[in-house]
């Protein structure tokens, strides 16, 4: 029982990150009716921006030192035992300026990238067939992955955690449970961001504009909504949340180009939940997170990679538009 719980908790923690990434897919789809196959690669770029601003730049000799190290902190750190919770907090405090700088760099960088993509590639296709837009994002996969290799090596480097990372250990039903502090905080950040953005889309004028656009583009236009602006907002929203998710993942597993492929499994999750339903994708993300952890436990790592794909095929066969997606009504 304890073991099941352990893996369920691990699963919820990765599920929350899936949900945060899924949010980007849904936002873009709702506003523009485009499914962004390159979302994973935008996340990857976000992770590399975080790596650049939090690790590479601060290490450059000409750059101001971003280590927060007043005397008391250095002294306390020297005293704290390695891997003790105190040491974890102090390490985090020490790198906090880097983390913040990195996070800002990642969000701004990814947002600029998304704005450029939207303006240059997607807007000329406004009103064109869905197929063209999908294929543009497929082409974008190669472009982004190539750009990444031009500027960064394939390094699987370590980057600082967003949150203090003490190990949390306790007993539950007689078996020990291990949790990484940073993962717990990341889960909270992801869920909070998810909730805040969904709420914002529901309540704010920009959110209403986005929903109106998703209902009917030309009507929205004639009601005075700036549709191009809605598109740009959606892309920026997706890129910014993606950058945060990328930073979290990079801190957890190391920065690497494999983050790009990660996007495909989240896309599978999004289709499972329903492309236009925030609630649906949240449930699907959490479910797949837990399912993956349990598969990992029982069947091993190889099976994990195909879990979302098998799940999405089954769901699509039974409910073609996902758990909570709206059926598209087609006029003939």
């Amino acid at each position: 029982m304890g073991q099941v719980l352990q893996f369920a908790i691990n699963g919820l923690m990765s599920g929350a990150i899936y949900a945060l990434i899924a949010l980007g897919f849904v936002a873009i789809y709702k506003a523009t009716r485009v499914v962004n196959f390159a979302q994973g690669y935008i996340i990857m770029m976000g992770a590399y921006f975080y790596y650049t601003f939090a690790v590479l730049l601060p290490a450059a000799p000409w750059f101001p030192d971003l280590i927060f190290a007043p005397e008391w902190l250095v002294a306390a750190k020297a005293e704290a035992a390695m891997f003790s919770p105190a040491a974890a907090w102090l390490t985090w405090l020490e790198s906090l300026p880097r983390v913040l700088f990195g996070l800002i760099g990642a969000v701004v960088g990814a947002s600029l990238l998304a704005m450029a993509i939207e303006r240059v590639l997607m807007r000329p296709l406004l009103g064109q067939s869905n197929f063209s837009m999908i294929m543009i994002t497929v082409g974008l996969i190669s472009v982004l992955s190539g750009l990444k290799s031009v500027f960064w090596t394939g390094d699987a480097a370590s980057v600082p955690h967003l949150a203090p990372n003490p190990a949390i250990r306790f007993e539950l039903f007689g078996s020990p449970i291990f949790i990484f502090g940073a993962n717990l905080v990341s889960m909270c950040i992801a869920i909070a961001l998810f909730g805040a953005i969904v709420l914002w889309l529901r309540r704010s004028a920009a959110g209403v504009a986005m929903r109106a656009t998703s209902e009917d583009q030309s009507t929205a236009y004639s009601m005075g909504i700036s549709v191009p602006r809605v598109f740009a907002t959606a892309w920026v929203l997706a890129a910014a949340t993606g950058a945060v998710a990328g930073a979290i993942l990079a801190a957890r597993d190391g920065v690497s180009p494999s983050l790009g492929l990660f996007g495909f499994s989240v896309l599978a999750i999004v289709l499972m939940g329903g492309l236009d339903s925030f609630a649906g994708v949240f449930i699907a993300a959490m479910a797949i997170g837990v399912l993956e952890a349990l598969v990992q436990w029982q069947l091993g790592g190889d099976w994990v990679e195909v879990t979302p794909y098998i799940a999405v095929l089954l769901v699509i066969l039974i409910r073609p538009h996902g758990l909570m997606g709206q059926k598209e009504v087609e006029r003939i």
Partner: protein, 397 residues
């Protein structure tokens, strides 16, 4: 309604592509050794660190008169760690340069397995690679160290000697990661060790918390990590240390790089203290009584000035250098015997290498058996000195 444009286009393009090599062919005779390295893709860091070794060796060998007066030249190409790309590089080089290509340096276990059956007749070349895969069955493929199986053997023997009881294998789900696992399980059983966990992970971006949890639940005395290069293994060890696991972690050749261990220590703290692993070679800073390594260190200072490699050649570069030294021995012997540089002759010359002292790459004079050099010893990393130091004698396997 079909084809001709494709053929015509192919002809035009290929004619352009062939113009450059044709020009070179007119120059003086030389021996070409083709190289595929992962300069992009998941293991790009490694590829970029290996590449300078070839530039250095080209100078070193040609300054010493090349192969009986004929200079050697390396043609390095990127494979992106995709076996098919490396195969295409190989086939293209053969198609363009023909008989001038005398040997090839491949970049992965997958490539060596993919190319193995192609090595027949005029398509065969003597070949070595970054891989220590255990079941390379082509007579033309050799390695300058022990196979991964052998490396597992060394580690497991070491564990048994130190009184370990339980062991876990964590490996990447690449060919190179899975290679020695079956052998490891069998060998552990023979040695009376209990394999409590065999865990497969992604080679990069693996879900660290979940894997660490599994290691923690199995709680083995020792854990052998296989199939990683720059990533995953440090994070796994870091995670396990945070949970206060007492498990001792061990690595094989590709997980024994000082530059990686140093950068992890710098970035994330000194948790690699006590990390052990098997290495077929001496580290490049271990130059005592190793004239060749001193020579190489001097050359590196001159040729690689201003790069991190100026004072230290990574283990992966050492592997390339050692392999090239062995290859040169074979090429020179073959040239002295006045034989044509065919793969068969070279393989034979290579197999005849017995008790040759390469000047410090290994523990002493080495011999080639079964197309490999079966020696290695266990090293341990210290976060104080940032060095790997030997903690065992040389094992012969």
């Amino acid at each position: 309604m079909t084809q001709p444009l494709s053929r015509r286009g192919v002809l035009a393009g290929a004619a352009a592509a062939l113009a450059a090599p044709a020009y070179l062919r007119a120059q003086s005779s030389e021996y070409i050794i083709g190289v595929s390295l992962p300069l992009t893709g998941p293991f790009a860091t490694a590829g970029k660190l290996i590449a300078p070794a070839f530039t250095m060796y080209e100078k070193l060998c040609n300054d010493e008169g090349g192969i009986g007066g004929t200079p050697i030249r390396f043609v390095t190409e990127d494979s992106g760690y995709v076996a098919q790309n490396a195969l295409a590089n190989y086939q293209r080089l053969l198609a363009a340069e023909g008989e001038k290509v005398v040997a090839y340096y491949g970049d992965s276990t997958a490539f060596m397995k993919l190319v193995g059956p192609e090595l027949t007749g005029a398509q065969a070349r003597l070949m070595t690679s970054t891989s220590f895969a255990s079941d390379l069955d082509s007579p033309y493929q050799f390695m300058s160290g022990p196979t991964y199986d052998d490396q597992f053997n060394i580690l497991l023997q070491d564990i048994a000697q130190k009184g370990g009881k339980t062991v876990a294998f964590v490996h990447s789900n690449t060919e190179f990661g899975a290679d020695p696992i079956a052998f490891g399980q069998a060998r552990a059983a023979e040695l009376g060790l209990d394999v409590v966990l065999v865990e497969s992970t992604k080679p990069q971006g693996a879900d660290i918390p979940t894997h660490v949890t599994k290691i923690a639940q199995a709680n083995p005395d020792y854990c052998i990590l296989q199939g990683y290069v720059t990533g995953v293994w440090p994070q796994l060890i870091g995670g396990a240390r945070q949970f206060g696991l007492q498990t001792k972690f061990m690595g094989t050749f590709w997980g024994m790089e000082k530059l990686i261990a140093d950068s992890v220590t710098r970035e994330a703290g000194p948790f690699l203290e006590g990390y052990q692993g098997v290495m077929p070679y001496r580290y490049s800073y271990d130059t005592e009584g190793a004239p060749r390594l001193q020579q190489i260190a001097a050359l590196a200072k001159e040729m690689l000035a201003g790069t991190p490699l100026e004072t230290y050649i990574p283990t992966w570069g050492m592997q390339a250098l050692a392999s090239l030294e062995l290859l040169t021995v074979a090429l020179r012997r073959n040239a002295e015997a006045g034989q044509a540089m065919t793969a068969d002759n070279l393989a034979q010359a290579f197999g005849s290498i017995q008790d040759v002292d390469l000047g410090g790459y290994y523990g002493g004079p080495i011999s080639v058996t079964d197309n490999k050099v079966g020696t290695g010893r266990v090293y341990q990393y210290s976060t104080e000195t940032n060095l790997f130091s030997p903690i065992s004698d040389w094992f012969e396997v």
